[in-house]
């Protein structure tokens, strides 16, 4: 019984929360209509509707949950009715209910349902009344069968549709973050490009053969001094090695 209550409380909070959202969105919609109806455009209009309806569905979801205690088994029971205004009440209801007095309570608690809906109820009621119980049951089962049948037809069709649409758009990944980082690091600071031969004295110190090889003579003779010097390569290599020996490598790891 205790946890029953607790559970109930939770549900109420959830519902309340939903309601507040719903309220706000509807309010926003109304304001939109009244304030900027001059330049409201169709898409936003529809979006607002979508928002409202989503809130509504959320609400119904909550109520449909089976662990939600049956609310209809509850009745609203006024405890105290007073004529004097109550600040707590006011800010509780955002100033809509200043006092909880006997004259507003009935109307406010909607003791009677909305006439339109009530009338509809009536129709159904009496329609149901002139029909025997088991016949009713038959209809119900029939109805359920049909509905469930239709439901799974629809759901099947839907998932097929989704499958083929997915295959069509082909959302396979075209790039990988890891590769990006690898490549960027390589370009940026030669990660994974240095070969160990580099460190310590050795031929690795020299400009690698791939680039020192005789390059095509640049247009115009003035490119050749490089070549001339290319001949005097070996000694320089030796020296650089000496240098490298007594210099500590900046990227030592």
């Amino acid at each position: 019984m205790q946890r029953e209550e607790k559970h109930f409380e939770i549900t109420l909070d959830a519902v309340l929360q939903r309601l507040v959202d719903l309220k706000l969105s509807v309010l926003a919609m109304i304001q939109k209509l009244e304030m900027e109806y001059m330049d409201i455009n169709w898409p936003t209009f529809l979006d607002n509707f979508a928002l409202i309806s989503s809130h509504l569905t959320g609400l119904t979801k909550i109520l449909a949950k089976e662990q939600c205690p049956p609310l209809r088994n509850r009745t609203v029971l006024p405890l105290l009715v007073s004529m004097d205004r109550d600040e707590a009440l006011i800010n509780l209801t955002e100033g809509r209910v200043p006092v909880f007095s006997h004259d507003i309570v009935p109307d406010y608690l909607r003791t009677r349902p909305d006439p339109v809906t009530e009338q509809k109820m009536q129709q159904n009621e009496q329609k149901a009344s002139n029909l025997t119980n088991d016949a009713a049951m038959k209809q119900v089962t029939q109805y359920n069968k049909v509905v469930s049948h239709v439901l799974d037809m629809v759901s099947k069709a839907r998932e097929e549709w989704e499958i083929e649409s997915n295959s069509r758009t082909g959302i396979q990944q075209t790039s990988s973050m890891a590769d990006t980082q690898l490549l960027v690091a390589a370009v940026g600071m030669g990660k994974g490009l240095q070969f160990k031969a580099n460190y310590g004295p050795g031929p690795g110190m020299m400009v690698p053969p791939s680039i020192r090889g005789p390059t095509p003579p640049m247009g115009g003779p003035s490119m050749s001094p490089g070549n001339v010097q290319q001949l005097g390569k070996a000694p320089s290599a030796v020296k650089t090695n000496i240098k490298s020996a007594n210099q500590v490598h900046p990227f030592s790891r």
Binding site: G232, P235, K239, N246
Partner: protein, 242 residues
């Protein structure tokens, strides 16, 4: 782009550089050459901060107003090996990036600037060399445009030098062009420069040669000169001179 020969003009005693330049210019004009703008060749030298075990390296950065888009640089690692480079002007900014390693020797900034003359296929430049605003001498640059190897046109250039500028030069090729042997991987190698195809870099190298001489000169006159080693090192000494 032709062949260029750079010739220092022997300074007669008691004649100011300005006078010489003026004199030569007048002569050229009177002989029918036409004045065609100015020119400037400057050279700045960067010295590597000495590190034990490594000889001091010097990077000479030169510009030639004839090649406005290029920066020429020649590195001289203490062991006599030189590497030449031609690059965009941006290279100057790159040099500034390594000021920690290569410091500019402002005192040795040297330049040759003056007037350009054209005479038919010849271009004659009369440059007065100044280092730290001090006049150092006169360099005569003479270019023969239609030809690209010196050995074919040396005689003409020589005649031009003698006839027009009355600089008497010997029949043999100027020192820069004479056969030089360089040491390399395949041992000794002879280079006959006068037969090579001439390149803008050669002009620059000639200038560097002359500039180095002027700096040496400074250093030799300075009392405390005479330290052995790379030239650049002791030009520093000569900076104080008027």
């Amino acid at each position: 782009m032709g062949v260029t020969v750079l010739q220092p003009y022997p300074m007669p005693e008691g004649k100011s550089g300005a006078y010489i330049i003026d004199h030569l210019g007048k002569r050229l004009l009177s002989l029918g050459a036409t004045h065609a703008g100015q020119f400037l060749v400057d050279c700045e030298t960067f010295i590597s901060t000495p590190q034990h075990g490594t000889p001091t390296r010097a990077v000479h950065v030169l510009h030639n107003s004839e090649c406005p888009a290029s920066t020429f640089s020649i590195i001289d690692n203490g062991t006599g090996k030189q590497v030449a480079l031609v690059a965009d002007n941006i290279f100057d900014l790159l040099m500034l990036k390594m000021t920690n390693t290569f410091t500019s020797k402002k005192q040795t900034k040297i330049e040759s600037r003056g007037a350009r003359f054209e005479y038919g296929d010849f271009v004659i430049k009369l440059g007065s060399v100044t280092m730290m605003e001090h006049f150092k001498g006169v360099l005569v640059e003479i270019e023969y445009k239609p030809c690209i190897t010196l050995s074919y046109c040396w005689e003409m250039i020589r005649e031009m030098l003698q006839g027009f500028l009355s600089i008497n030069v010997g029949k043999e090729y100027p020192s820069y062009f004479t056969t030089q042997t360089i040491m390399n991987a395949m041992g000794q190698q002879q280079l006959h420069k006068q037969n090579d195809i001439y390149e803008p870099m050669d002009t620059i190298k000639q200038y560097l040669e002359q500039f180095t001489n002027y700096r040496k000169h400074v250093q030799m006159h300075s009392a405390m000169g005479g330290t052995v080693g790379p030239v650049m090192m002791n030009t520093v000494v000569g900076m104080g001179r008027p």
